[in-house]
């Protein structure tokens, strides 16, 4: 494997080990989703570092389709917290969790396949993503602006990185893509929780 990508994954494992340790001891909650999200991310990065499940994508770059399956696990937890923060009903929350899982599973398929099927699964993923974002960003709630930063900038950064990466059209290298994904991961999974916990103390 490319030594640069390997380094990025090792840095990711290190950062999320720190984050999960912090969330474990700093947040004594019965359902500590902040810890779970960080811990699941360690597992995802370890699997990518091992590398045997990677495939070859656009312009010959390495593609880690499993990344998106693990986002299916971590982002449903994030979405659960977002929905709770925005005071969504139980029924709507479950619908949003299904959409999140669909976005990530079709994302994994889009990363794994090439050409027309990459596009087809990306289109299905985008439909589910728009359906997911619409009720979150239009919610009439004083809390909307607090999470919309993470959603608009953070979450939406992933499909943009995807299209540039070997997952999509390979306009940037797999190593550059790995750095971008890592920055987005830290923003949406660590900074998000630090901010959320601060806001919930204020309430």
């Amino acid at each position: 494997m490319d030594i640069q990508i390997e380094t990025v994954f090792l840095v990711g494992i290190g950062l999320f080990t720190l984050a999960s340790t912090y969330f474990l001891f700093a947040h004594k909650k019965a359902f500590n989703s902040a810890f779970l999200v960080s811990f699941i991310t360690i597992i995802s990065y370890t699997l990518m570092l091992e590398g045997s499940l990677a495939s070859v994508g656009a312009e010959g770059g390495a593609v880690y389709a499993t990344r998106w399956l693990f986002y299916g696990l971590s982002c449903t937890l994030l979405m659960y917290e977002i929905a709770k923060f925005l005071k969504k009903s139980k029924e709507e929350t479950i619908f949003l969790l299904y959409l999140t899982a669909i976005v990530m599973a079709t994302g994994a398929a889009s990363a794994y396949f090439d050409g027309l099927y990459m596009l087809g699964f990306f289109a299905l993923s985008t439909v589910a993503y728009v359906m997911l974002m619409y009720p979150l960003l239009t919610a009439v709630s004083p809390h909307t602006s607090a999470v919309s930063k993470y959603i608009l900038l953070g979450w939406t950064g992933f499909p943009v990185a995807f299209l540039l990466a070997p997952d999509g059209y390979g306009l940037i290298s797999a190593a550059t893509a790995a750095v971008l994904y890592l920055l987005l991961d830290v923003f949406t999974k660590v900074f998000f929780y630090l901010d959320l916990h601060k806001k919930m103390e204020v309430q």
Copy 2:
């Protein structure tokens, strides 16, 4: 791939794109399972059309074991609506959802393997299926007759098609099987919801 099977899958993608669009706009529900079921079915058909996950079954016909894994996702949603319609308790509903997932996962294994293991997993699937059907069809509820048509004719059509298809004994071609499965899909996933929504308005 066989051009006939390809056509059937394309028709399936078209029909369920129409159905999911219709359910999205016609049913403004917080938990829109009708949309989710149709959308999951589009994903399943797209994956089968891509074809690289297909295997060779009885008499050399193509087998799409992933079909049954996706039924595990869509049919748990259908079963949730059926259980709610029949006013089953929360505990019993969860039990029925587990059974539904087991029926489909063992169905996928039965499709994937040959000979004795095809039969063994089919037997396990049948046991779970009988346990699933029994409380539904014997429920003393004025609503039982409304759903029993979809269950008795519709759901039970799948294992019959399975045995005839290359999934089972290959007595019919993979293309004929694909047509049969598509008709059953439209009946149990589109007509079912149209009927259910009409009945729930009447209530």
Copy 3:
């Protein structure tokens, strides 16, 4: 496949067929998790008997990584009953179910990979396992002692067997490991429920 391992798996299928039949008729509960756990174990053993998903582990012994994925399904059910018995809150129960699934999924990865990655995933699995055990064994509840036997002796037996088996360092043969796992399965999945049901009648 080794005829000895084959025999152990066949005995396992036989024992859990008896257990699931017994639990089906003896426990008329709306959510019959005892039946589900035994039935899922039949499926797991049938898949291992088929053998095509096995890989080669330490000292050349056979490794069945799927075993741990199925424990992810059955042990979440067991953990649900343990948490209910210890009167854990709904939020904490969901956290414990996530941890259980993480223990088993990282266990599957640890079984599947070799060398440093075997150790790395085993370490992640151990962290989640310790976090799972701590609140269970320190719970101030008159019921703790009743389940701690199954947890301390039973559940903890699995990672010990894992390290000895070809999953880990291959100090014992795959057949010996299969016998050990079977004994632990019967203890934690059959005896546990017989004992639990007796205790719940007494209450």
